[in-house]
């Protein structure tokens, strides 16, 4: 229960930071994808189920606010959470390099998905432009924030685990 509450608070915080705080800072003409960082981090740390559920909620939020159609973002965030969960199960993640590489791949795939579902089909101009001006800056921004946020998030998870253990003991 506590875990769900903390997840909800994290998602809300990330969503509003991303849309209101970072978007308002005008001298960087790009916003980092905090929701993606949250999704893939917990996917990696906690596994498929957590990653996918967080991704689903993050995506739904984005859909409700900005998507033309519901479910479009939910689908991709969820898939990223799930995929990172699978990868997290396969490998033992100790260093920071591995999550950062995954962050870059996730963000890149996410933006490709947005381009192909939303833009290419509407006859937008060349892919090269979008790659250079939207996808790459966002990926770099997300990479930097992953460097900052991954360790704290993983520590937060340890803290939640200890909380859960404590309350489990009380019941016994």
């Amino acid at each position: 229960m506590k875990r769900i509450l903390i997840y909800a608070a994290l998602i809300l915080a990330a969503f509003m930071l991303q849309n209101n705080f970072f978007a308002a800072i005008k001298w960087i003409d790009c916003t980092p994808n905090l929701l993606l960082i949250l999704t893939f981090s917990f996917g990696l740390i906690r596994g498929r189920l957590d990653g996918m559920l967080i991704g689903f909620v993050c995506g739904l939020f984005t859909d409700f606010f900005f998507g033309a159609k519901l479910g479009l973002y939910a689908l991709i965030y969820m898939a990223i959470g799930f995929a990172n969960g699978v990868i997290g199960n396969l490998f033992y993640v100790e260093s920071l390099t591995f999550p950062v590489v995954l962050a870059v791949i996730s963000d890149f795939l996410f933006n490709l998905y947005v381009y192909f579902t939303g833009f290419m089909l509407q006859g937008a101009s060349g892919f090269g432009y979008y790659l250079a001006h939207i996808i790459l800056p966002e990926t770099v921004y997300t990479l930097l924030l992953t460097l900052l946020l991954y360790k704290p998030l993983s520590r937060l998870n340890e803290w939640i685990v200890s909380l859960e253990k404590r309350s489990a003991k009380k019941f016994v």
Binding site: F22, F66, G71, I134
Partner: protein, 282 residues
């Protein structure tokens, strides 16, 4: 959470959620009512916090920009003061001419051709976070009488159009969004054209101006306003100035660029015109 996981395989949950997403996609393609009901609820709850964070972000951004720009601004200020002096003179001249014009107009009985539209002021409190779309969130909603398709202006020019309305906020699609098409015309000749947003062209601060007849009386530096034929945009709102007009390869039409009046990177407050096109024409 863990118990659930052991009973239900994550694989299956994943599949179920995928199906939910697809269903939502189909549902929301069919009807837009579902979206707006849910959106409205979420928006009402989050509004105050969003407003606060937005102003903090804006504050930090402003401060940093101020520091970097002080020197530039001083020079610019001087320039502008000179320009202002010049413009004052010009304005006085035009005042005289306008009086004269009004007299003629009264004679011709066409005084109300471009009525002043009633407006509501609103603050910009959020921007689309996905970097792909150029939509903004404003702090007025259905409680203030905002409706879908109302035109939004700022700094004397067209900003965009309201696309969805919640209780206390509304989403505005700006004209630089790549989904946005505005039926427009040149002020003098009233020859029609289309203004289209494009992220790539906007990098240099421009929009695309297209679908003009080859012989249309639209050339560089002509004033472009919203057209009479547009279904949602009120006629006569200034959009910007034409630029780089060239004939298309099909030698039937010509196209070019448009420099908007509005500075979209510094949008803080906007005006929403409360007249809808359909009502306005009654």
């Amino acid at each position: 959470m863990n118990k659930k996981g052991s009973q239900l395989q994550p694989k299956h949950v994943f599949l179920i959620l995928v199906i939910v997403c697809v269903l939502l996609l189909i549902l929301s393609s069919v009807s837009t009512k579902i979206n707006s009901a849910v959106r409205s609820t979420i928006n009402t709850v989050l509004m105050p916090m969003q407003k606060g964070l937005n102003s903090i972000g804006g504050f930090i951004s402003d401060k940093a920009e101020n520091l970097a720009d002080i020197e530039k601004l001083a020079a610019r200020n001087e320039e502008l003061e000179e320009e202002l002096a010049f413009l004052r003179m010009e304005a006085a001249k035009y005042q005289l001419q306008e009086n004269e014009l009004n007299q003629y107009k009264e004679l011709l009985d066409m005084k109300d051709e471009y009525p002043d539209y009633p407006t509501i002021g609103a603050h910009v409190i959020g921007e689309n976070s996905t970097n792909w779309n150029k939509t903004i969130l404003i702090d007025r909603g259905s409680a203030d009488g905002i409706e879908v398709d109302m035109n939004v202006i700022s700094q004397g020019g067209l900003v965009g159009i309201v696309t969805s309305v919640y209780t206390n906020s509304a989403t505005v699609r700006t004209i630089i969004d790549h989904d946005c098409r505005v039926g427009a015309m040149a002020v003098i000749s009233q020859d029609s054209c289309i203004v289209r947003g494009d992220l790539e062209v906007y990098q240099e601060g421009n929009l695309i101006l297209e679908k003009m007849d080859k012989n249309a009386d639209i050339y560089d530096d002509y004033k472009i306003v919203t057209g009479n034929k547009s279904s949602v945009f009120l006629p006569g709102i200034l959009i910007g100035y034409a630029k780089n007009i060239t004939e298309d390869p099909n030698s039937l039409t010509k196209s070019g660029l448009l420099t908007p009046i509005v500075d979209f990177s510094h949008l803080d407050s906007v005006l929403v015109i409360t007249t809808l096109k359909e009502n306005g024409q009654e």
